[in-house]
């Protein structure tokens, strides 16, 4: 019984003399959404295609639950390619049923699963329409259904949110979250860092073919938190400017954003602030994913 622990170790890939992936190692854990971010040409799609067996790596291993990944394992993977594609002239339901059957489901099972999933994705009115007659956003939903219909234990989604309006992003996000809640391991790439930040549990940041950072989102944010703090107090916070070891970044009345040269300094600032008046909030300021991203890819 597989549980879906996907592990890449030292994966490399070159096209001619150009090395596009260099020693890529990271894991994707069941029940968690792993965000895969990186600039254009960073190697995200190449990595995903290697995991799916669509491309051979030059070195390194891809394992599922500690065993070398086989094509039989990959039948239980779901995949949404970067460049979308379904048969343009096939009807939505028929197409998803067909894909489910290719993954080994019987026709009645495939039909009921496809219908339920397409309904969840908001396409219940369009089941009998051809793919080419759908709007781009709806084609995208059908594409996600294609990746999910066979209840995959590992889901690899290349830019699942691109081209979706905010409402559709929410629909897709909730479908992915419920899939993760049922135990699927999900790896998805995205350029929309705010969506990744909101959705993912784990994060892998790729740049120039190498992993720049990976781990749980919260750990990464804490790691890159540095020593920036936010203080909201009742009185004027102007006194901070003369505190030793403190660099004020932003300041307005009782609000101040500052860098401290250490945890001690921060604690001292808090004590001083409490002495000077009521403190509404004092907290280390976690950087946004966009900030971390910029920082690590440099």
């Amino acid at each position: 019984m597989t549980t879906g622990n996907l592990l890449l170790t030292g994966v490399t890939k070159s096209y001619g003399s150009r090395r596009v992936l260099d020693d890529i190692s990271f894991g994707v854990t069941p029940g968690r959404l792993t965000g895969f971010v990186g600039g254009n040409g960073a190697g995200k799609t190449t990595t995903m295609r290697i995991v799916l067996g669509l491309l051979n790596s030059d070195g390194g291993t891809v394992e599922l639950d500690g065993r070398q990944l086989t094509s039989a394992d990959r039948r239980h993977f779901g995949y949404m390619p970067e460049e979308r594609g379904l048969y343009p002239k096939m009807k939505v339901l028929e197409q998803i049923v067909y894909l489910a059957r290719l993954h080994g489901f019987s026709k009645p099972d495939a039909t009921s699963r496809a219908t339920a999933l397409l309904t969840e994705l908001g396409l219940e009115e369009r089941l009998g329409d051809t793919i080419e007659s759908l709007s781009l956003g709806n084609q995208q939903r059908a594409q996600i259904a294609a990746a999910l219909v066979h209840d995959p234990e590992v889901l690899i989604l290349d830019e699942p949110f691109s081209g979706l309006d905010p409402l559709a992003v929410d629909v897709v996000a909730s479908v992915l979250q419920s899939s993760a809640a049922q135990g699927a391991s999900i790896l998805f790439s995205s350029h929309q860092l705010d969506v990744v930040e909101r959705l993912c549990d784990d994060l892998v940041i790729l740049a120039g073919g190498t992993i720049r950072a990976s781990g749980s989102r919260d750990a990464l944010r804490a790691e890159h938190a540095g020593s920036r703090y936010e203080l909201v107090s009742a009185g004027d916070a102007g006194w901070l400017r003369s505190e030793p070891g403190v660099t004020v970044v932003d300041f307005e009345g009782g609000y101040a954003l500052f860098d401290a040269d250490g945890a001690d300094t921060a604690q001292r600032v808090l004590r001083t602030a409490v002495e000077r008046g009521d403190v509404a909030s004092f907290a280390p300021k976690h950087p946004s994913l966009a900030q971390i991203f910029k920082e690590v890819i440099q």
Partner: protein, 367 residues
């Protein structure tokens, strides 16, 4: 995450069939395909019916013939003749001249007892019907009627080229469509490339064979209905052989078309790799029309895998082939078929995921 309906590594047969089913379904839903098939069958039927009338010379309508009271009984007993009784020779000649009748049969003092009057040409069917032919025994029967032979050559050539080009083109387009829309990436994450290829080849072969069998059925029924049983008895076996040869010939071509198409990424580029194969399927058509009376060319054609489906039935029809020849040719065809599938599958597997510019043949073979 697994459910009881999922199987670990299922046998490929149901998957191949699933792919084949989709190929057939999507083609049968195309109005253009249904209409063109309908037109093709109608043309075939029309050809046979017209050919039937032409071969009977007189057509099936009764020939109007003027008779006098003395000849009326003899003529009205003949089949396909509509006798019109007139008073005398002058009245009969008048009817012939005004073309109200095709001929007139009058009493004559020759041994036969009749004189036949016609406007320009002797009405041969009438004359032979009236004469009592002696028994004829032919020691060395002449070869087949050259005109019939020519039409049969065209028919085999055109049916082979038409069906092979139509369904070869279909499989090529279907391969490129999957590549161009990238649905192939999803398909290959579910099933092996060879399974996909096998399904496509089988699906299109079934479609092509369906069309061939429909044509054969129409031809048979048409020949029977128009009373051309003699043609049918000589054409029956060649038609069956044609169907058998076409089956394997098409599998060979389909594997080649699929492999060639997998090397390009856009519909616009299909021609750049499939043109040589299209030439291959046009060659038998051209050759059989030009050389249908040249035994050497026909013999060569009947053994070359690409032209055997046309060449061998043609030789069987004219009675030049020995009984073992179609079997030997079939063995050669089967061997080429296996080779094409092995090489084609390799090219297909290696090219399917390469997008962008055309994959070079050497790279496709090496992988």
């Amino acid at each position: 995450m697994s459910t009881p309906t999922k199987t670990g590594s299922p046998s490929q047969a149901p998957l191949i069939w699933l792919v084949a089913e989709r190929e057939i379904g999507s083609k049968l839903r195309s109005k253009a395909f249904l209409i063109s098939t309908g037109v093709l069958l109608l043309i075939a039927l029309a050809g046979i019916v017209i050919g039937g009338f032409a071969s009977k010379n007189t057509g099936s309508d009764a020939m109007p013939v003027a008779v006098t009271s003395q000849t009326a009984s003899a003529v009205s007993a003949l089949p396909n003749v509509k006798a019109t009784e007139v008073a005398d020779q002058a009245a009969a000649e008048e009817l012939v001249r005004s073309e109200k009748v095709d001929a007139a049969v009058l009493p004559g003092d020759n041994p036969a007892g009749y004189t036949v009057i016609a406007l320009k040409d002797a009405p041969s069917s009438l004359v032979s019907a009236l004469s009592q032919a002696p028994d004829v025994q032919i020691l060395e029967p002449a070869t087949t009627n050259p005109l019939l032979r020519y039409f049969i050559a065209i028919a085999f050539g055109i049916v082979f080229m038409g069906a092979a080009a139509t369904f070869g083109g279909t499989i090529a387009q279907s391969v490129v469509e999957e590549k161009q829309t990238r649905v192939v990436e999803i398909l290959l994450s579910a099933i092996p490339a060879r399974t996909l290829l096998a399904g496509k080849v089988i699906g299109n072969t079934i479609l092509a064979m369906g069309q061939i069998l429909a044509l054969a059925a129409i031809a048979t029924v048409g020949l029977i209905v128009t009373g051309q049983n003699a043609v049918l008895s000589t054409l029956g076996a060649p038609i069956i052989w044609f169907a058998v040869f076409f089956l394997f010939g098409f599998i060979l071509l389909a594997a080649m078309f699929a492999a060639a198409a997998s090397m390009v990424s856009r519909q616009e580029d299909i021609g750049s790799t499939t043109t040589p194969i299209t030439m291959l399927i046009m060659a038998p058509y051209v050759l059989v029309i030009v050389f249908n009376d040249n035994p050497l060319v026909l013999t060569i054609m009947s053994y070359v895998p690409f032209s055997a489906p046309v060449g061998m039935p043609m030789r069987l029809f004219v009675g030049e082939a020995q009984w073992w020849e179609p079997l030997l040719s079939l063995v050669i065809l089967l061997a080429s078929c296996v080779a094409a599938i092995v090489i084609g599958a390799k090219i297909y597997e290696n090219s399917l995921l390469r997008m962008g510019t055309r994959v070079k043949l050497g790279e496709a073979l090496r992988g």
